[in-house]
Symmetry: none
Subunit: 224 residues, 4 copies
């Protein structure tokens, strides 16, 4: 894919994180994967290194050959989080923004964004859940996100501004804020459907997303 190359050039500073992943030995990876499974089920503090070891199919001692402490194991999850979730989030965002907005409807662009974003989150839910929860208690975990986020905001802002110039987006709305609300909706949707799904009986994802988008674009109020 030629596009891939192009994208990488745009994010040279993130290159290293991704590259690091290749260094991971098979055992290293197995331990990380086991950690995600266990942590996401019981939470970091309530998880036992013994269980991670069993889940990973290694001895308990081996874990400490790769990670100096248990907390280090939690920090280690940042690598796959960045590689699998955060980076694609950014990359794909750029791709959509660059390619999509030229000739496609605003609604279609946003829908695609929502669909594959929520799919991305859902596919890595254990990882996301673990990091989201633990970030509440170990703020340093948010660091990498805080470094990436401004870039996302900047790109998003640029996108909104472009749309405003094309007359597709209300001029009186601050672009940053507009994106923030959009993201809140996506997060809120995924969160609620996951935790309260059985109460709310969420139906087919696509329909739900369509509605959210409709509301976002048109509002609920009848114009008089």
């Amino acid at each position: 894919m030629a596009e891939q190359e192009e994208k990488k050039d745009l994010l040279p500073d993130l290159e290293l994180d991704l590259g690091e992943e290749k260094i991971l030995t098979e055992k290293h990876l197995k331990i990380l994967e086991a950690a995600v499974r266990v942590f996401s089920e019981k939470g970091f503090s309530a998880s036992r290194t013994s269980e991670v070891a069993k889940e990973a199919g290694v001895s308990e001692g081996t874990i400490f050959n790769y990670f100096k402490t248990k907390k280090d194991l939690l920090r280690g999850l940042l690598v796959p989080l960045t590689a699998r979730v955060l980076r694609p989030f950014v990359l794909a965002g750029i791709e959509k923004v660059l390619n999509g907005s030229k000739d496609r409807e605003l609604a279609d662009v946003l829908r695609d964004l929502m669909v594959d974003r929520s799919r991305l989150i859902r596919n890595n839910l254990p990882l996301v859940k673990t990091m989201a929860v633990e970030a509440a208690y170990h703020p340093e975990l948010l660091e990498p996100i805080k470094q990436v986020l401004p870039k996302v905001v900047e790109l998003a802002t640029a996108f909104v501004r472009e749309e405003q110039q094309r007359g597709n987006f209300r001029e009186d709305i601050d672009p940053t804020r507009a994106m923030r609300v959009f993201m809140s909706m996506v997060f809120g949707y995924v969160l609620m459907s996951e935790t309260l799904g059985d109460v709310f009986s969420f139906e087919e994802e696509e329909k739900e997303i369509d509605l959210i988008l409709d509301l976002y674009l048109n509002g609920v109020q009848v114009k008089k």
Copy 2:
């Protein structure tokens, strides 16, 4: 307040839960409050009963006179959660719906809802945070919420339907879904402003809320 009386008649079945709270002895309450503080800072599993004791100004043994186990102490937080957050959530909702919608603008009603809801959450943030996070690992904790929620949904739906009949709300939107999106926005807003506040630099609450409401009511798109 005469209104108070009126409200109570509407929710006679929830009355008892609130009443129970008065039975709590001073020490019982002190322990619960200390637990919220400690749990919200480190998470339940990483918290030490010794620290809760110190924070509450009692001996460690005393905690176990009131709560059989540490987990029981977590469950004990449900009482204040219900009394302070959940129940007012419902009560105030009814009040707003019954009184406000008669003669006030839809926008004003929703704004008031958002403002005092997000204030309610923010004022009890440690409690809400603790329960929200731990609910991910101890699903029983969600039970009381799951019992109240349908009532909230029902009332909200009725409210939306009424607005639709008055011609204030788009007819083509399912009322339940509409409320769900609204709630997602509120939650998403509080969540993001709390966790990523320093990145996003959220400004005065009122302005932000006004924007969210504006988007919810009117959408972002320029109508053509």
Copy 3:
């Protein structure tokens, strides 16, 4: 009863212990009885003062108004043990020896001894069990028994010697030893029937006792 008076004169040194019992208030007694029940079921160390309190129908604090420590409560059981078991053991022994041996068969005297002895033990089994077991770990509990025992041995010896003079008892047997074996048989019988009763299927007490006595008197071997 004139006999009562006579007996008391023979055991003036035990008088005091028995007298003490009358001082016991109702609550004091209730606590002791509760203690026997609880201790005999779980053993002293595994018993909780809280359970003794509940069982006795008093508050936990009250126990410590009567007994300075938990161990003191165990020592307190010596009073009823002496009054109800040990003293009757001695008294009745004397009575039987003095009255019975004159004109009754040796076999009848011994049978009566065994029957009411084993009944005495069985009726106070919880008490006896508790003291027997705990004596293994708190040797001072055996003191009162060690003070009474020599007297019993002395009397028993005199009895045997008398029987030997009448030609009812083998002359070549040391009287003390003979009694010791007899007592071993009684204890052994009660012990085994209580602990292994369901395996051994002990039948009617009387029959079993008759056999033991028969063996004791006649042996198992066919004389050639």
Copy 4:
């Protein structure tokens, strides 16, 4: 010893229990031995795992690598009890019965039985004492004994019956009962000599046993 082989063939089903003992690691064994020492001195409930650890020369945590709970440690004593006491009891019994009774006097056979039985008990007194006392409070502990006991009874009965046919044993006595009384005497003797030894001043074991046997065989009564 050729006899050894012969014996094994007779009890193939008990072989496994004994074999298991060899699996015990050195530390496992040290802990068990320390447990016997400590438990027999203070009783199970009053014993502290910390003391067992110190006595065994391991850290407290190590105990719980081998035994999930303190109670489990008590249960663990059943293995050596079975291996060292119970099984030899059965094996030796058979040996004596099969080899001895052919050409030896009944008295000699029984004397040998008593001598090495009481020696066996005495050599393992702490173990036997602990299990005997705790069995009163944890009846499960008696299970293995209850499984072996019927076999012992059966063998003993056969032995008595054989002696009866040879004319050495009174025909009018139920064999099972006869053995039961014999066992009571052995237990009673060991028990009393251990707990009340200083009062009774038990002399040389052999003499005492000879007397007990004499009484058992010939009774105390002069035949007229």
